[in-house]
Subunit: 277 residues, 2 copies
Protein backbone atom coordinates (compact mmCIF):
# COMPACT_ATOMS: atom_id res chain seq x y z
CA UNK A 1 0.00 0.00 0.00
CA UNK A 2 1.11 3.55 -0.72
CA UNK A 3 -0.37 6.85 0.40
CA UNK A 4 -1.67 8.74 -2.62
CA UNK A 5 -2.05 12.48 -2.10
CA UNK A 6 -4.04 14.89 -4.23
CA UNK A 7 -2.82 18.40 -3.59
CA UNK A 8 -5.99 20.49 -3.58
CA UNK A 9 -3.81 23.58 -3.47
CA UNK A 10 -0.07 23.96 -2.84
CA UNK A 11 -0.86 23.93 0.85
CA UNK A 12 -3.51 21.30 1.49
CA UNK A 13 -4.38 17.87 0.18
CA UNK A 14 -6.33 14.68 0.62
CA UNK A 15 -4.21 11.63 1.33
CA UNK A 16 -5.57 8.13 0.78
CA UNK A 17 -4.14 4.68 1.36
CA UNK A 18 -4.11 2.84 -1.95
CA UNK A 19 -2.82 0.11 -4.20
CA UNK A 20 -2.01 1.10 -7.73
CA UNK A 21 -4.07 -0.97 -10.15
CA UNK A 22 -3.29 0.62 -13.49
CA UNK A 23 -1.42 3.62 -14.85
CA UNK A 24 -1.66 4.67 -18.52
CA UNK A 25 -0.54 7.70 -20.41
CA UNK A 26 -3.23 8.56 -22.94
CA UNK A 27 -2.92 11.19 -25.65
CA UNK A 28 -4.35 13.78 -23.25
CA UNK A 29 -3.52 12.83 -19.69
CA UNK A 30 -2.22 10.32 -17.22
CA UNK A 31 -4.96 7.94 -16.15
CA UNK A 32 -4.46 6.22 -12.81
CA UNK A 33 -6.70 3.60 -11.21
CA UNK A 34 -6.22 3.05 -7.48
CA UNK A 35 -7.80 0.54 -5.17
CA UNK A 36 -8.39 2.20 -1.78
CA UNK A 37 -9.73 0.63 1.43
CA UNK A 38 -11.71 3.80 2.21
CA UNK A 39 -13.37 4.67 -1.10
CA UNK A 40 -13.09 1.53 -3.21
CA UNK A 41 -11.67 2.01 -6.68
CA UNK A 42 -10.63 5.54 -7.51
CA UNK A 43 -10.12 7.15 -10.93
CA UNK A 44 -7.41 9.82 -11.05
CA UNK A 45 -6.65 12.01 -14.08
CA UNK A 46 -3.38 13.95 -14.10
CA UNK A 47 -3.18 13.56 -10.32
CA UNK A 48 -6.75 14.74 -9.61
CA UNK A 49 -9.42 12.44 -8.18
CA UNK A 50 -12.33 12.24 -10.62
CA UNK A 51 -14.52 9.65 -9.01
CA UNK A 52 -14.54 6.84 -6.47
CA UNK A 53 -16.84 3.85 -6.17
CA UNK A 54 -17.98 4.92 -2.73
CA UNK A 55 -18.94 8.56 -3.24
CA UNK A 56 -19.48 8.86 -7.01
CA UNK A 57 -23.25 8.73 -6.55
CA UNK A 58 -23.23 12.17 -4.94
CA UNK A 59 -21.52 14.01 -7.77
CA UNK A 60 -23.30 12.14 -10.56
CA UNK A 61 -26.79 12.45 -9.07
CA UNK A 62 -26.35 16.11 -8.25
CA UNK A 63 -24.90 16.93 -11.65
CA UNK A 64 -27.64 15.15 -13.62
CA UNK A 65 -30.94 15.24 -11.76
CA UNK A 66 -31.70 18.90 -11.06
CA UNK A 67 -31.58 19.85 -14.75
CA UNK A 68 -33.32 16.64 -15.80
CA UNK A 69 -36.13 17.28 -13.32
CA UNK A 70 -36.55 20.95 -14.15
CA UNK A 71 -36.95 20.25 -17.84
CA UNK A 72 -40.52 19.14 -18.30
CA UNK A 73 -39.73 16.55 -20.98
CA UNK A 74 -36.03 15.94 -21.64
CA UNK A 75 -35.68 13.66 -24.67
CA UNK A 76 -32.23 14.48 -26.06
CA UNK A 77 -29.38 14.91 -23.64
CA UNK A 78 -25.70 15.65 -24.22
CA UNK A 79 -22.90 15.00 -21.75
CA UNK A 80 -19.57 16.70 -22.47
CA UNK A 81 -16.75 14.90 -20.69
CA UNK A 82 -18.02 12.29 -18.25
CA UNK A 83 -16.27 9.33 -19.91
CA UNK A 84 -16.63 7.29 -16.73
CA UNK A 85 -20.34 6.96 -17.51
CA UNK A 86 -21.81 7.90 -14.12
CA UNK A 87 -23.72 10.89 -15.47
CA UNK A 88 -25.13 8.85 -18.36
CA UNK A 89 -26.33 6.23 -15.88
CA UNK A 90 -28.25 8.87 -13.91
CA UNK A 91 -29.74 10.49 -17.04
CA UNK A 92 -31.18 7.14 -18.11
CA UNK A 93 -33.24 6.99 -14.91
CA UNK A 94 -35.52 9.55 -16.59
CA UNK A 95 -38.04 7.71 -18.74
CA UNK A 96 -38.63 10.61 -21.14
CA UNK A 97 -35.07 10.27 -22.47
CA UNK A 98 -34.81 9.02 -26.08
CA UNK A 99 -31.12 9.60 -26.78
CA UNK A 100 -28.02 10.43 -24.80
CA UNK A 101 -24.90 11.65 -26.56
CA UNK A 102 -21.63 11.41 -24.71
CA UNK A 103 -18.87 13.58 -26.12
CA UNK A 104 -15.59 12.57 -24.47
CA UNK A 105 -12.26 13.71 -25.85
CA UNK A 106 -10.24 10.84 -24.36
CA UNK A 107 -11.33 7.37 -25.40
CA UNK A 108 -8.94 5.81 -22.86
CA UNK A 109 -11.11 7.14 -20.01
CA UNK A 110 -14.05 5.14 -21.35
CA UNK A 111 -11.96 2.01 -21.87
CA UNK A 112 -10.54 2.21 -18.34
CA UNK A 113 -13.95 2.89 -16.83
CA UNK A 114 -15.57 -0.04 -18.59
CA UNK A 115 -12.80 -2.32 -17.36
CA UNK A 116 -12.34 -1.10 -13.76
CA UNK A 117 -15.56 0.73 -12.84
CA UNK A 118 -18.41 -1.49 -14.09
CA UNK A 119 -20.93 -0.07 -11.60
CA UNK A 120 -20.30 3.45 -12.90
CA UNK A 121 -19.98 2.71 -16.62
CA UNK A 122 -22.76 0.09 -16.77
CA UNK A 123 -25.08 2.13 -19.00
CA UNK A 124 -22.54 3.29 -21.58
CA UNK A 125 -23.65 0.50 -23.94
CA UNK A 126 -27.35 1.17 -23.50
CA UNK A 127 -29.01 1.39 -26.92
CA UNK A 128 -30.09 4.98 -26.20
CA UNK A 129 -26.47 6.06 -25.74
CA UNK A 130 -24.17 7.18 -28.54
CA UNK A 131 -20.52 7.86 -27.78
CA UNK A 132 -18.50 10.44 -29.70
CA UNK A 133 -14.74 10.62 -29.20
CA UNK A 134 -14.41 14.30 -29.99
CA UNK A 135 -13.56 17.68 -28.62
CA UNK A 136 -16.69 19.15 -27.00
CA UNK A 137 -16.02 22.54 -28.49
CA UNK A 138 -16.12 21.48 -32.15
CA UNK A 139 -18.81 18.86 -31.50
CA UNK A 140 -21.29 21.55 -30.49
CA UNK A 141 -20.79 23.54 -33.69
CA UNK A 142 -22.36 20.76 -35.71
CA UNK A 143 -25.46 20.41 -33.55
CA UNK A 144 -27.58 23.52 -33.40
CA UNK A 145 -30.96 23.66 -31.66
CA UNK A 146 -30.86 19.97 -30.83
CA UNK A 147 -30.62 19.13 -27.11
CA UNK A 148 -33.02 19.54 -24.22
CA UNK A 149 -30.32 19.25 -21.58
CA UNK A 150 -26.55 19.68 -21.91
CA UNK A 151 -24.40 18.56 -18.99
CA UNK A 152 -20.78 19.69 -18.64
CA UNK A 153 -19.08 16.86 -16.80
CA UNK A 154 -15.59 18.19 -17.33
CA UNK A 155 -12.40 17.94 -15.35
CA UNK A 156 -10.82 21.04 -13.82
CA UNK A 157 -10.38 24.17 -15.97
CA UNK A 158 -6.76 23.49 -16.82
CA UNK A 159 -5.31 21.84 -19.93
CA UNK A 160 -7.87 20.28 -22.28
CA UNK A 161 -10.82 21.46 -20.22
CA UNK A 162 -9.85 25.13 -19.98
CA UNK A 163 -11.94 26.23 -22.99
CA UNK A 164 -15.00 24.62 -21.42
CA UNK A 165 -15.09 27.37 -18.79
CA UNK A 166 -15.31 30.34 -21.20
CA UNK A 167 -18.13 32.54 -22.44
CA UNK A 168 -17.53 31.57 -26.10
CA UNK A 169 -18.07 27.96 -25.13
CA UNK A 170 -21.28 28.64 -23.21
CA UNK A 171 -22.57 30.49 -26.27
CA UNK A 172 -22.08 27.34 -28.31
CA UNK A 173 -23.85 25.34 -25.63
CA UNK A 174 -26.75 27.76 -25.79
CA UNK A 175 -27.13 27.52 -29.55
CA UNK A 176 -27.09 23.73 -29.33
CA UNK A 177 -30.02 23.79 -26.90
CA UNK A 178 -33.64 23.70 -27.98
CA UNK A 179 -35.94 26.49 -26.87
CA UNK A 180 -36.63 25.23 -23.35
CA UNK A 181 -33.16 23.78 -23.01
CA UNK A 182 -31.19 23.75 -19.77
CA UNK A 183 -27.46 23.47 -19.25
CA UNK A 184 -25.61 22.54 -16.09
CA UNK A 185 -21.89 22.47 -15.36
CA UNK A 186 -19.69 21.39 -12.50
CA UNK A 187 -18.03 24.64 -11.40
CA UNK A 188 -15.41 23.74 -8.78
CA UNK A 189 -15.12 24.48 -5.06
CA UNK A 190 -16.22 27.91 -3.84
CA UNK A 191 -13.84 27.53 -0.91
CA UNK A 192 -10.59 26.33 -2.46
CA UNK A 193 -11.12 27.37 -6.08
CA UNK A 194 -13.04 30.59 -5.64
CA UNK A 195 -11.44 32.16 -8.72
CA UNK A 196 -12.63 29.41 -11.10
CA UNK A 197 -16.01 29.17 -9.44
CA UNK A 198 -16.60 32.88 -9.63
CA UNK A 199 -15.36 33.12 -13.21
CA UNK A 200 -17.49 30.22 -14.47
CA UNK A 201 -20.59 31.74 -12.90
CA UNK A 202 -19.77 35.18 -14.32
CA UNK A 203 -19.28 33.80 -17.85
CA UNK A 204 -22.44 31.68 -17.76
CA UNK A 205 -24.46 34.66 -16.57
CA UNK A 206 -23.31 36.70 -19.55
CA UNK A 207 -24.88 34.10 -21.84
CA UNK A 208 -28.06 32.86 -20.14
CA UNK A 209 -30.98 34.79 -18.71
CA UNK A 210 -31.64 32.50 -15.72
CA UNK A 211 -28.73 31.14 -13.73
CA UNK A 212 -28.58 29.32 -10.40
CA UNK A 213 -25.81 27.82 -8.31
CA UNK A 214 -26.17 24.86 -6.00
CA UNK A 215 -23.82 22.78 -3.86
CA UNK A 216 -23.24 19.20 -2.82
CA UNK A 217 -20.99 17.42 -0.33
CA UNK A 218 -18.32 15.50 -2.28
CA UNK A 219 -15.80 14.19 0.27
CA UNK A 220 -13.08 13.38 -2.28
CA UNK A 221 -13.17 16.76 -4.05
CA UNK A 222 -11.29 19.84 -2.81
CA UNK A 223 -12.78 21.14 0.46
CA UNK A 224 -15.72 18.73 0.21
CA UNK A 225 -17.98 21.57 -0.96
CA UNK A 226 -18.67 21.28 -4.66
CA UNK A 227 -20.62 23.69 -6.89
CA UNK A 228 -22.83 23.27 -9.93
CA UNK A 229 -24.16 26.05 -12.12
CA UNK A 230 -27.45 25.57 -13.95
CA UNK A 231 -28.74 27.91 -16.63
CA UNK A 232 -31.48 28.44 -19.17
CA UNK A 233 -33.00 31.22 -21.23
CA UNK A 234 -36.60 30.10 -21.07
CA UNK A 235 -36.86 27.95 -17.95
CA UNK A 236 -36.76 29.61 -14.56
CA UNK A 237 -34.09 27.27 -13.21
CA UNK A 238 -34.38 28.61 -9.67
CA UNK A 239 -38.01 27.55 -9.31
CA UNK A 240 -37.88 24.16 -7.63
CA UNK A 241 -41.62 24.02 -7.12
CA UNK A 242 -41.96 22.46 -10.58
CA UNK A 243 -41.96 18.78 -11.49
CA UNK A 244 -41.65 17.63 -7.89
CA UNK A 245 -43.46 14.39 -8.72
CA UNK A 246 -40.56 13.39 -11.00
CA UNK A 247 -38.18 13.42 -8.05
CA UNK A 248 -40.15 10.83 -6.13
CA UNK A 249 -39.92 8.34 -9.00
CA UNK A 250 -36.11 8.40 -9.03
CA UNK A 251 -34.05 5.77 -7.28
CA UNK A 252 -31.25 7.81 -5.76
CA UNK A 253 -29.06 7.91 -2.67
CA UNK A 254 -28.37 11.64 -2.30
CA UNK A 255 -30.78 13.68 -4.44
CA UNK A 256 -34.30 13.62 -3.06
CA UNK A 257 -37.35 15.81 -2.59
CA UNK A 258 -35.94 17.85 0.27
CA UNK A 259 -32.60 18.38 -1.48
CA UNK A 260 -34.46 19.52 -4.61
CA UNK A 261 -36.77 21.86 -2.71
CA UNK A 262 -33.78 23.50 -1.01
CA UNK A 263 -31.38 23.32 -3.93
CA UNK A 264 -30.54 27.03 -3.95
CA UNK A 265 -30.08 27.60 -0.23
CA UNK A 266 -26.50 28.88 -0.17
CA UNK A 267 -24.28 29.92 2.72
CA UNK A 268 -23.93 33.67 3.04
CA UNK A 269 -20.30 33.76 1.87
CA UNK A 270 -21.13 31.86 -1.32
CA UNK A 271 -23.93 34.34 -2.04
CA UNK A 272 -21.38 37.15 -1.58
CA UNK A 273 -18.98 35.57 -4.09
CA UNK A 274 -21.80 35.36 -6.63
CA UNK A 275 -22.78 38.99 -6.08
CA UNK A 276 -19.21 40.07 -6.82
CA UNK A 277 -18.83 37.78 -9.87
CA UNK B 1 7.47 23.88 6.97
CA UNK B 2 6.22 20.37 7.65
CA UNK B 3 3.18 18.52 6.35
CA UNK B 4 0.78 17.83 9.19
CA UNK B 5 -1.70 15.02 8.55
CA UNK B 6 -4.89 14.31 10.44
CA UNK B 7 -5.92 10.74 9.81
CA UNK B 8 -9.69 10.91 9.49
CA UNK B 9 -9.75 7.13 9.48
CA UNK B 10 -6.92 4.60 9.13
CA UNK B 11 -7.24 5.00 5.38
CA UNK B 12 -7.77 8.68 4.61
CA UNK B 13 -6.54 11.98 5.93
CA UNK B 14 -6.21 15.70 5.42
CA UNK B 15 -2.65 16.90 4.96
CA UNK B 16 -1.73 20.54 5.50
CA UNK B 17 1.50 22.49 5.12
CA UNK B 18 2.33 24.03 8.48
CA UNK B 19 4.80 25.53 10.88
CA UNK B 20 4.59 24.36 14.44
CA UNK B 21 3.95 27.30 16.75
CA UNK B 22 3.35 25.65 20.09
CA UNK B 23 2.99 22.17 21.52
CA UNK B 24 1.89 21.55 25.14
CA UNK B 25 0.86 18.52 27.04
CA UNK B 26 -2.03 19.46 29.32
CA UNK B 27 -3.54 17.23 31.97
CA UNK B 28 -6.02 15.91 29.41
CA UNK B 29 -4.50 16.08 25.96
CA UNK B 30 -1.79 17.28 23.64
CA UNK B 31 -2.50 20.79 22.42
CA UNK B 32 -0.83 21.80 19.18
CA UNK B 33 -0.94 25.18 17.47
CA UNK B 34 0.07 25.25 13.81
CA UNK B 35 0.46 28.14 11.43
CA UNK B 36 -0.73 27.07 7.98
CA UNK B 37 -0.62 29.02 4.72
CA UNK B 38 -4.02 27.62 3.69
CA UNK B 39 -6.13 27.97 6.85
CA UNK B 40 -4.22 30.41 9.05
CA UNK B 41 -3.64 29.27 12.60
CA UNK B 42 -4.96 25.83 13.42
CA UNK B 43 -5.77 24.31 16.83
CA UNK B 44 -5.16 20.57 17.09
CA UNK B 45 -6.09 18.43 20.12
CA UNK B 46 -4.61 14.93 20.34
CA UNK B 47 -3.91 15.03 16.62
CA UNK B 48 -7.41 16.16 15.60
CA UNK B 49 -8.09 19.55 14.00
CA UNK B 50 -10.52 21.49 16.21
CA UNK B 51 -10.62 24.84 14.51
CA UNK B 52 -8.78 27.06 12.04
CA UNK B 53 -8.83 30.81 11.63
CA UNK B 54 -10.12 30.53 8.08
CA UNK B 55 -13.06 28.17 8.41
CA UNK B 56 -13.99 28.35 12.12
CA UNK B 57 -16.91 30.64 11.37
CA UNK B 58 -18.78 27.81 9.66
CA UNK B 59 -18.72 25.39 12.57
CA UNK B 60 -19.29 28.03 15.26
CA UNK B 61 -22.14 29.79 13.49
CA UNK B 62 -23.89 26.55 12.62
CA UNK B 63 -23.48 25.14 16.11
CA UNK B 64 -24.79 28.22 17.88
CA UNK B 65 -27.36 30.05 15.76
CA UNK B 66 -30.06 27.52 14.90
CA UNK B 67 -30.82 26.79 18.58
CA UNK B 68 -30.41 30.44 19.55
CA UNK B 69 -32.84 31.50 16.83
CA UNK B 70 -35.41 28.81 17.54
CA UNK B 71 -35.63 29.71 21.21
CA UNK B 72 -37.88 32.72 21.39
CA UNK B 73 -35.94 34.43 24.18
CA UNK B 74 -32.65 32.77 25.17
CA UNK B 75 -31.27 34.46 28.28
CA UNK B 76 -29.09 31.81 29.92
CA UNK B 77 -26.85 29.73 27.74
CA UNK B 78 -24.38 26.99 28.57
CA UNK B 79 -21.54 25.78 26.38
CA UNK B 80 -19.93 22.48 27.32
CA UNK B 81 -16.45 22.24 25.82
CA UNK B 82 -15.74 25.03 23.37
CA UNK B 83 -12.73 26.43 25.22
CA UNK B 84 -11.55 28.20 22.07
CA UNK B 85 -14.41 30.68 22.58
CA UNK B 86 -15.88 30.69 19.06
CA UNK B 87 -19.27 29.42 20.15
CA UNK B 88 -19.46 31.98 22.97
CA UNK B 89 -18.67 34.74 20.47
CA UNK B 90 -21.61 33.66 18.28
CA UNK B 91 -24.01 33.33 21.24
CA UNK B 92 -23.30 36.92 22.28
CA UNK B 93 -24.58 38.16 18.92
CA UNK B 94 -28.07 37.48 20.33
CA UNK B 95 -29.21 40.51 22.32
CA UNK B 96 -31.57 38.59 24.60
CA UNK B 97 -28.61 36.81 26.23
CA UNK B 98 -27.94 37.75 29.86
CA UNK B 99 -25.39 35.14 30.84
CA UNK B 100 -23.22 32.58 29.11
CA UNK B 101 -21.58 29.81 31.09
CA UNK B 102 -18.64 28.04 29.53
CA UNK B 103 -17.81 24.69 31.09
CA UNK B 104 -14.46 23.53 29.75
CA UNK B 105 -12.55 20.68 31.34
CA UNK B 106 -9.12 21.78 30.10
CA UNK B 107 -8.03 25.27 31.12
CA UNK B 108 -5.00 25.04 28.84
CA UNK B 109 -7.29 25.16 25.80
CA UNK B 110 -8.59 28.54 26.94
CA UNK B 111 -5.11 29.86 27.69
CA UNK B 112 -3.80 28.76 24.29
CA UNK B 113 -6.82 30.16 22.51
CA UNK B 114 -6.55 33.55 24.20
CA UNK B 115 -2.88 33.73 23.23
CA UNK B 116 -2.92 32.36 19.67
CA UNK B 117 -6.53 32.76 18.45
CA UNK B 118 -7.62 36.24 19.52
CA UNK B 119 -10.28 36.53 16.79
CA UNK B 120 -11.94 33.35 18.07
CA UNK B 121 -11.56 33.87 21.81
CA UNK B 122 -12.26 37.62 21.80
CA UNK B 123 -15.50 37.41 23.79
CA UNK B 124 -14.35 35.04 26.53
CA UNK B 125 -13.78 38.02 28.85
CA UNK B 126 -17.12 39.64 28.10
CA UNK B 127 -18.89 40.55 31.39
CA UNK B 128 -21.79 38.26 30.50
CA UNK B 129 -19.47 35.24 30.29
CA UNK B 130 -18.51 33.06 33.22
CA UNK B 131 -15.92 30.33 32.75
CA UNK B 132 -15.96 27.10 34.77
CA UNK B 133 -13.01 24.74 34.59
CA UNK B 134 -14.97 21.59 35.29
CA UNK B 135 -16.15 18.31 33.92
CA UNK B 136 -19.40 18.91 32.01
CA UNK B 137 -20.99 15.84 33.44
CA UNK B 138 -20.75 16.83 37.13
CA UNK B 139 -21.31 20.52 36.34
CA UNK B 140 -24.81 19.78 35.06
CA UNK B 141 -25.84 17.97 38.23
CA UNK B 142 -25.64 21.18 40.19
CA UNK B 143 -27.75 23.24 37.81
CA UNK B 144 -31.28 21.99 37.38
CA UNK B 145 -33.95 23.80 35.39
CA UNK B 146 -31.62 26.69 34.65
CA UNK B 147 -30.62 27.14 30.98
CA UNK B 148 -32.56 28.14 27.89
CA UNK B 149 -30.00 26.72 25.49
CA UNK B 150 -27.25 24.15 26.11
CA UNK B 151 -24.63 23.71 23.41
CA UNK B 152 -22.35 20.67 23.32
CA UNK B 153 -19.17 21.90 21.70
CA UNK B 154 -17.18 18.80 22.48
CA UNK B 155 -14.32 17.06 20.77
CA UNK B 156 -14.74 13.59 19.28
CA UNK B 157 -16.40 10.86 21.38
CA UNK B 158 -13.16 9.32 22.53
CA UNK B 159 -11.28 9.88 25.79
CA UNK B 160 -12.60 12.70 27.98
CA UNK B 161 -15.51 13.45 25.66
CA UNK B 162 -16.88 9.91 25.40
CA UNK B 163 -19.45 10.30 28.20
CA UNK B 164 -20.82 13.37 26.43
CA UNK B 165 -22.32 11.14 23.75
CA UNK B 166 -24.41 8.92 26.03
CA UNK B 167 -28.09 8.82 26.98
CA UNK B 168 -27.34 9.36 30.70
CA UNK B 169 -25.57 12.56 29.80
CA UNK B 170 -28.39 13.86 27.61
CA UNK B 171 -30.78 13.20 30.50
CA UNK B 172 -28.70 15.52 32.65
CA UNK B 173 -28.71 18.09 29.88
CA UNK B 174 -32.49 17.84 29.76
CA UNK B 175 -32.94 18.37 33.48
CA UNK B 176 -30.68 21.41 33.37
CA UNK B 177 -32.87 23.02 30.71
CA UNK B 178 -35.83 25.25 31.50
CA UNK B 179 -39.22 24.33 30.10
CA UNK B 180 -38.74 25.67 26.59
CA UNK B 181 -35.08 24.78 26.57
CA UNK B 182 -33.20 23.54 23.51
CA UNK B 183 -29.99 21.58 23.29
CA UNK B 184 -27.71 21.14 20.33
CA UNK B 185 -24.62 18.97 19.90
CA UNK B 186 -21.99 18.47 17.24
CA UNK B 187 -22.47 14.85 16.19
CA UNK B 188 -19.62 13.97 13.82
CA UNK B 189 -19.52 13.10 10.13
CA UNK B 190 -22.33 10.94 8.73
CA UNK B 191 -19.95 9.77 6.00
CA UNK B 192 -16.75 8.86 7.85
CA UNK B 193 -18.11 8.43 11.40
CA UNK B 194 -21.49 6.94 10.70
CA UNK B 195 -21.38 4.83 13.86
CA UNK B 196 -20.91 7.81 16.21
CA UNK B 197 -23.35 9.94 14.29
CA UNK B 198 -26.02 7.29 14.34
CA UNK B 199 -25.46 6.46 18.01
CA UNK B 200 -25.56 10.10 19.16
CA UNK B 201 -28.83 10.65 17.30
CA UNK B 202 -30.29 7.43 18.70
CA UNK B 203 -29.38 8.36 22.28
CA UNK B 204 -30.68 11.93 21.99
CA UNK B 205 -33.96 10.68 20.55
CA UNK B 206 -34.46 8.44 23.57
CA UNK B 207 -34.40 11.53 25.79
CA UNK B 208 -36.08 14.36 23.89
CA UNK B 209 -39.45 14.47 22.18
CA UNK B 210 -38.39 16.64 19.21
CA UNK B 211 -35.09 15.98 17.49
CA UNK B 212 -33.62 17.27 14.24
CA UNK B 213 -30.35 16.78 12.41
CA UNK B 214 -28.70 19.31 10.14
CA UNK B 215 -25.41 19.56 8.27
CA UNK B 216 -22.76 22.09 7.37
CA UNK B 217 -19.70 22.12 5.13
CA UNK B 218 -16.59 22.15 7.34
CA UNK B 219 -13.58 21.66 5.03
CA UNK B 220 -11.12 20.79 7.81
CA UNK B 221 -13.32 18.16 9.48
CA UNK B 222 -13.52 14.53 8.32
CA UNK B 223 -15.23 14.26 4.90
CA UNK B 224 -16.18 17.95 4.98
CA UNK B 225 -19.78 17.01 5.88
CA UNK B 226 -20.47 17.76 9.52
CA UNK B 227 -23.62 17.02 11.51
CA UNK B 228 -25.40 18.73 14.38
CA UNK B 229 -28.29 17.33 16.38
CA UNK B 230 -30.79 19.72 17.95
CA UNK B 231 -33.43 18.65 20.46
CA UNK B 232 -36.15 19.90 22.75
CA UNK B 233 -39.17 18.61 24.61
CA UNK B 234 -41.40 21.64 24.19
CA UNK B 235 -40.10 23.45 21.13
CA UNK B 236 -40.72 21.95 17.71
CA UNK B 237 -37.07 22.25 16.63
CA UNK B 238 -37.82 21.22 13.06
CA UNK B 239 -40.08 24.19 12.41
CA UNK B 240 -37.84 26.83 10.85
CA UNK B 241 -40.74 29.12 10.02
CA UNK B 242 -40.37 30.68 13.49
CA UNK B 243 -38.27 33.68 14.50
CA UNK B 244 -37.04 34.34 10.96
CA UNK B 245 -36.66 38.04 11.74
CA UNK B 246 -33.92 37.21 14.26
CA UNK B 247 -31.78 35.69 11.51
CA UNK B 248 -31.71 38.90 9.51
CA UNK B 249 -30.28 40.86 12.44
CA UNK B 250 -27.27 38.55 12.80
CA UNK B 251 -23.91 39.43 11.28
CA UNK B 252 -22.74 36.09 9.94
CA UNK B 253 -20.79 34.63 7.04
CA UNK B 254 -22.39 31.21 6.65
CA UNK B 255 -25.70 31.02 8.52
CA UNK B 256 -28.39 33.12 6.86
CA UNK B 257 -32.09 33.13 6.10
CA UNK B 258 -31.92 30.58 3.30
CA UNK B 259 -29.70 28.23 5.31
CA UNK B 260 -32.11 28.47 8.24
CA UNK B 261 -35.19 27.89 6.10
CA UNK B 262 -33.60 24.77 4.60
CA UNK B 263 -31.82 23.56 7.72
CA UNK B 264 -33.33 20.08 7.70
CA UNK B 265 -32.99 19.26 4.02
CA UNK B 266 -30.87 16.12 4.21
CA UNK B 267 -29.45 13.88 1.49
CA UNK B 268 -31.35 10.64 1.09
CA UNK B 269 -28.59 8.45 2.55
CA UNK B 270 -28.39 10.58 5.70
CA UNK B 271 -32.16 10.23 6.13
CA UNK B 272 -31.72 6.46 5.80
CA UNK B 273 -29.06 6.38 8.54
CA UNK B 274 -31.42 8.28 10.85
CA UNK B 275 -34.30 5.91 10.12
CA UNK B 276 -32.13 2.96 11.14
CA UNK B 277 -30.73 4.67 14.26
Amino acid sequence: MIWFTEHWTENVGLTVKANEVKRIKSKYQEILVLDTPEFGKMLVLDGLVQTTERDEFIYHEMLAHPAMVMHSNPERVLVIGGGDGGTVREILKHKSVKEVHLCEIDEEVIIVSEKYFPSISEKLRDPKVKIFIEDGNSFLEERKDYYDVIIMDSSDPVGASEVLFKKEFYEKVKSSLRKNGIMVAQTESPILQEKYFSRAFGEIRKVFRNVGVYLAYVPTYPSGMWSFTIASDFVDVKDTSVNREKVKELKTKYFCDSIYACLFALPQFVQEILKKS
